[in-house]
Symmetry: D2
Subunit: 458 residues, 4 copies
Amino acid sequence: MRGPVKIVATVGPSSASASILAQMLSLGVDVARINTSHGSVDQWSSMLESLRRAEEAVGKRVGVAVDLEGPRVRTSNSALVKLEKGDLVTLGYMEGDIPVDSKQFFEALDEGDIVLLDDGKIALQVESVEGFQVKARVIEGGVLGPRKGVVVRGKEPDLPPLTARDRSALEFFADKGVSHVYVSFARSAEHVEKVRSIIRRLGLRHARVFAKIEGPSGVRRIGEIAEASDGVIIARGDLGMHYSLEELPEIQELIVMEARRRHKTVVLATEFLSSMIEKPVPTRSEVVDIYQAVLQTADALMLTGETAVGRYPVKSVQWMAKISSRAYRKLAASPPEKPRPTSTPYKLALGLVELAESLDAPLVVYSKTGRFAERLASFRPLKTFYVGVPSREVERVVRHLWGAEPVVVGDHPYEAGLARTYEKLRSENIIHGDETVVEAAWSSERGIYIIRVRNLEF
Amino acid sequence: MRGPVKIVATVGPSSASASILAQMLSLGVDVARINTSHGSVDQWSSMLESLRRAEEAVGKRVGVAVDLEGPRVRTSNSALVKLEKGDLVTLGYMEGDIPVDSKQFFEALDEGDIVLLDDGKIALQVESVEGFQVKARVIEGGVLGPRKGVVVRGKEPDLPPLTARDRSALEFFADKGVSHVYVSFARSAEHVEKVRSIIRRLGLRHARVFAKIEGPSGVRRIGEIAEASDGVIIARGDLGMHYSLEELPEIQELIVMEARRRHKTVVLATEFLSSMIEKPVPTRSEVVDIYQAVLQTADALMLTGETAVGRYPVKSVQWMAKISSRAYRKLAASPPEKPRPTSTPYKLALGLVELAESLDAPLVVYSKTGRFAERLASFRPLKTFYVGVPSREVERVVRHLWGAEPVVVGDHPYEAGLARTYEKLRSENIIHGDETVVEAAWSSERGIYIIRVRNLEF
Amino acid sequence: MRGPVKIVATVGPSSASASILAQMLSLGVDVARINTSHGSVDQWSSMLESLRRAEEAVGKRVGVAVDLEGPRVRTSNSALVKLEKGDLVTLGYMEGDIPVDSKQFFEALDEGDIVLLDDGKIALQVESVEGFQVKARVIEGGVLGPRKGVVVRGKEPDLPPLTARDRSALEFFADKGVSHVYVSFARSAEHVEKVRSIIRRLGLRHARVFAKIEGPSGVRRIGEIAEASDGVIIARGDLGMHYSLEELPEIQELIVMEARRRHKTVVLATEFLSSMIEKPVPTRSEVVDIYQAVLQTADALMLTGETAVGRYPVKSVQWMAKISSRAYRKLAASPPEKPRPTSTPYKLALGLVELAESLDAPLVVYSKTGRFAERLASFRPLKTFYVGVPSREVERVVRHLWGAEPVVVGDHPYEAGLARTYEKLRSENIIHGDETVVEAAWSSERGIYIIRVRNLEF
Amino acid sequence: MRGPVKIVATVGPSSASASILAQMLSLGVDVARINTSHGSVDQWSSMLESLRRAEEAVGKRVGVAVDLEGPRVRTSNSALVKLEKGDLVTLGYMEGDIPVDSKQFFEALDEGDIVLLDDGKIALQVESVEGFQVKARVIEGGVLGPRKGVVVRGKEPDLPPLTARDRSALEFFADKGVSHVYVSFARSAEHVEKVRSIIRRLGLRHARVFAKIEGPSGVRRIGEIAEASDGVIIARGDLGMHYSLEELPEIQELIVMEARRRHKTVVLATEFLSSMIEKPVPTRSEVVDIYQAVLQTADALMLTGETAVGRYPVKSVQWMAKISSRAYRKLAASPPEKPRPTSTPYKLALGLVELAESLDAPLVVYSKTGRFAERLASFRPLKTFYVGVPSREVERVVRHLWGAEPVVVGDHPYEAGLARTYEKLRSENIIHGDETVVEAAWSSERGIYIIRVRNLEF
């Protein structure tokens, strides 16, 4: 059986076909991520189309996450540029050996800074800065493709939170059933709030906003950012360019802790199975990495290049499912202590989780917006819990959460919604008639919450 | 406020009047104990009568516990016997300097044995045994009153579990509303079962059977005895004659642990406030002793001589209530881990307690027999829980349990019983209309258990 | 075998004879306490004389502690005064129904105050105060003897730290081999320092100063007082007049913790075996109290009335030794965590204790002043450690410490002192030639400390 | 600063030059491993020669570990064999499409078995077995090079513990200063003992025997194997062919635990930085893997392909040092509990480690054979400890141990050896004259062990 940890898979060339996607979904993908840094409206349309067909084929709907490009500086070369160690090169605003697309980038630069290109594969050291004219020495060479990311180690140029591309991406996706928006390079609560207000304006009523922590500001302000977000994503890729890699495990632990104490969804991302881009089997390191991520109680783990451009998108999903499910068994054998909540909604959620765990019974609830499911998930229930939801929109939202299994039953008052949910689980034989089940819902009477334990035999 | 630890007070000459009893009840006595080793049917009648009047005066009904004499050997002298250290005296069956009322006693004796009289105040060492003729040297002297207990250190003569006196006591009490029978010198599960079958035959439907552990067999067989009983009483008085006193704290800890892991009621007894027999204020030692007993999570603490024959029965109750309530505050600040149950009824009870504690809300249930209240109490809920019961009989049973507050509402189906309980608590203003409350009961539908959280405001 | 917890016994009428004292010493008394509130110079002389003879008879020297009267208000009546509940009585400075010996007492009084006489046995409530004329109602009656203590609940009149009696007592004891001075009613670090400077001036070079915490100021300033003292005494008698008795266990725990984190000696006092003033056997409560005091890791427990005026001084010592030794076995089975020191001398002491415990070997050291022994004791070593000392003076000091066994070997450089200590332990067969022993001493070379593990067989 | 975790690097084509080796040594390699599955006597000679030169250049000597080929079945093809998924192929003893070099292999085979070639890159499923004629279907294709390993999943053919190649390798290395022999495919205590007796016969007096756990027998008999060995190596490569990869983290944890409770050296091996065979920077997974291995308190981590055939042998060492040192900081902040030893030599070692840690001082010892250093290392001291040794042979042995820094000072009685060690550390300014140091050695006097704390200032 699958454990409660969810899998986010990035859709890309390797996984753009409905048949590949269908395999991935059936093997465990819970959320499909579209990275708007790449591709065009046509390509995104076609991805969504494939995804719809895959969902139909498999009979399962997944979360759809749009990952914005965000305030990233990029090179604006259109041809390949060869850079050899020791070369002295020029960087300029839209000109020079390495043309760069942002003026703010040049304002942030100082002599001695390390500039990393293409996810850190190429490194330069700045020797002089004169306005938008920079000379830099190549300290790690390579061939630079077009539109590659540019990072100044430890610095973040003061760019607006969303690019024009981001805005048109959001407009495009506004009516496409998106359930999650990932805010790249989240730097402050204000940054997250801004994206949230835009997507609300665009009519994405339920879409959750997750902040990607990928630079020093994100780490420093993790508290306020987590507070302002529905979830946080630990983007180990960019973090690894600002910090020395050996610092990442501690940063990862810190972010998980800060998010969990605020009851927010936690996603871990980047290079979980990077060797599988080329090979059908993971390395021992990758197994340990995924295993530890589950022990740290992340809600979800993300595959990026593995499924977007790798040779083995399906096998990558399969391995991630196998490893995380094994790690879950270990976790369940000595479950971590649950956080002690201070507000009533979380106290109720904790109480329900403890009641269900004490009875070793699955929990069934009905959640109109998915918020209650988020609260339940935040206590990491050891058993799958079933969440009746009014619509596909909310279904996709809930699919992202630790241990949650959504069921669409239409919009009803709470008690009726719960009854429909139970019926559906019964009719689909997900719940058999004879095991103990804990159901919970608001009563029609004001201020009363009802919990029903079914099939309780003494 | 009173903590959840219950107080058992022995009724005796000092507390035989209704007015004294009324004060004791209002200050915190939850169970009145009648020790049938002493007194006559007339005296017991009059105690019950006083108790009824006291209950009416105070508007509170308490548990009524009959403590059987049990298989205790006694002297059969009618006059005082003076014994001086060094004297050589004779013991015989109903004859000699110290006449003894049991033939089995003589069979158990060997040369060198230590014989303790009158709770250990007088000690003899056996020098020779010839049939029912024993010569012994006084090693601790004193004046021996009539009908005093006789103990051979480390040995238990093979007496029948109940004396004739016990049987007639049980017959007398059979229709007097007794809620608990304390089985003295409990030596085995069989012993307890025997008493249970007798009291069932006498029609005491609900009366609980508690085993008093007061000798080596009881300690050795604590597992089976706890299993066979509804509760255990750690009778430190007699235990202290069989074991050296410094061993008692470990024995006490062991018995508490064995009983709690079987979810049985635990009562600690003897010499909690013995200085208060003479003085109005406890010693520092006594304060520490009561404090520790609460930290050990006993359900109830028993007063014996303090209220039966002491000069300050009312003050004794008052001090025990004050000290145990203070110790409870300490316990509540770092609550002990709850035992993990294996059977469904206990899992449900634990789940309810955890739900209520997570919501910091009182729990309200309806229990036809008190069994469910026993299960809830076994997890030591931190808040008082309210138990609707059909009758005074069950009310008295429930009164003995950690944290339980019984309410008589008549015999009803579960849901109706719960509704009446809630109404009554509301009408008596024990529960106000605005605080969160967790209610739980069996539904009329088969196999369904319903929990209702009232006044839940988000 | 005796455990490491030391016993302080108060010398008084019941224990003034050399033969009684000899029995007490041989059964486990480590420190003899003389309470200078009572008795005269002649009586103290005779006590010391008896003690010397007892020591010789037993071949063991003990600590001699002088417990000062301190700033206690007393009544100055010479005859008995009978007080009945409800009486209205007058208190005045050296006059009235109840004459009182202190003007400051009257300044502290307010209407409504509770005045406790004779250790709280008699209680009055103040109805009016006019200068040194006070009217009060008896709320707890009794017969008032001469020179009884007077306490105003929760208040401490502003008296000088030492009385004239204290000063003459100190002068008398200055050349009598006193090892400890107990400062009664210690209220501040300054208070303790004052006594320390006086006893230094009197030539008591080694005598340790222990602060008795017996009132609200002592509790409030426990940090600074512990810092200024060599040890603290938790005087539960007077504390119980200022605080409600049920608060004492928490106060006791607090003081132990504050003293231990400063590595100070901790003594617990009052009413450990108060029933044994009259009876030969302790109550169950008293057993639990002593047991818990050991589990709290007090260095020493004090007997007061039990040995001073009780009927069973020798048996009291015997029981305290038996119970504390049993409790020690429990403690040793799951030893408490050791405090982590921050200064080098304590780090060395901890390292030695851990080395010896790892090897399960006794530790042997030579300590010129006893300070090093105090450091070792502060980590509560599980095995007896042997401390060679230069003089009887230091021997008496060391005798008071947890686990320490002093041996007088004369004044030598450290290494020689250690060698003599080892020889003596060998010649007295305390250490046999074949068990592993850890020895430690300063080397003659500057800055080098030497540890020797003897009889280490692989 | 380097942490205490040691780095084993495999010497191979990428690291065969003295200059590369010199860089690797200076960046943190503690043990050079020569894998005798590959190469010839000439190549091994040349590796040793390069290593000697590198050691001289850097001024540091490292452990030299010979990793035996062990009982591994191999293909005996000399040309490449192309295998496509779905092909039906024949395997035969030294013949067929895939010739195999072992008759026992065929005896172990059954229909349905999975045969893995070349570290699992190619997989076949057996369809029929007739003597030494096997037909199998290719289920994972690839190009098979010559002399590749053959594994039957979950089975181990009954091969002799050492191959002819192993014996000649041992003979070759017998006089080359080898410090460690790694026993591949260790299956039982007997297996390890056999290798140990051979290497003793060959005159390798000090060489330690480490068992490589790489198959089901090794895991099943981990207890007896660890007991018989000086250390264990968790060879995640082959283990991953017998077990599903997701089981490896639990197996790794089990083996570490079993070895540590027997105080044996623990080495973790395989794929720590496999991406660095091609790329200059590790993946996030690899960082987490190394980090976790240190938190699991392995003594040493092994690099294989990374330094043997990778493009970045030096950078691999550098990254491993950086990551493990960071992880060590985390470990030191909340140090794991030390195992409690039962025999005297280990108790002494633990006592010394605790003494030194309490004083926060480095430990200096003199160890003739390295055994004492192994004991100290088994308690994972938080600070580097210095070990004087008589010879280069022992130096190389000690270099492999957690936290140990060996110093060659010649063969002396213990006290003199320790003195020389201290002098040398002083003269090389590794220890300055002013910090606290704990020295320990056997005294010349029988049964006496001496510990000296230097520069102890109070």
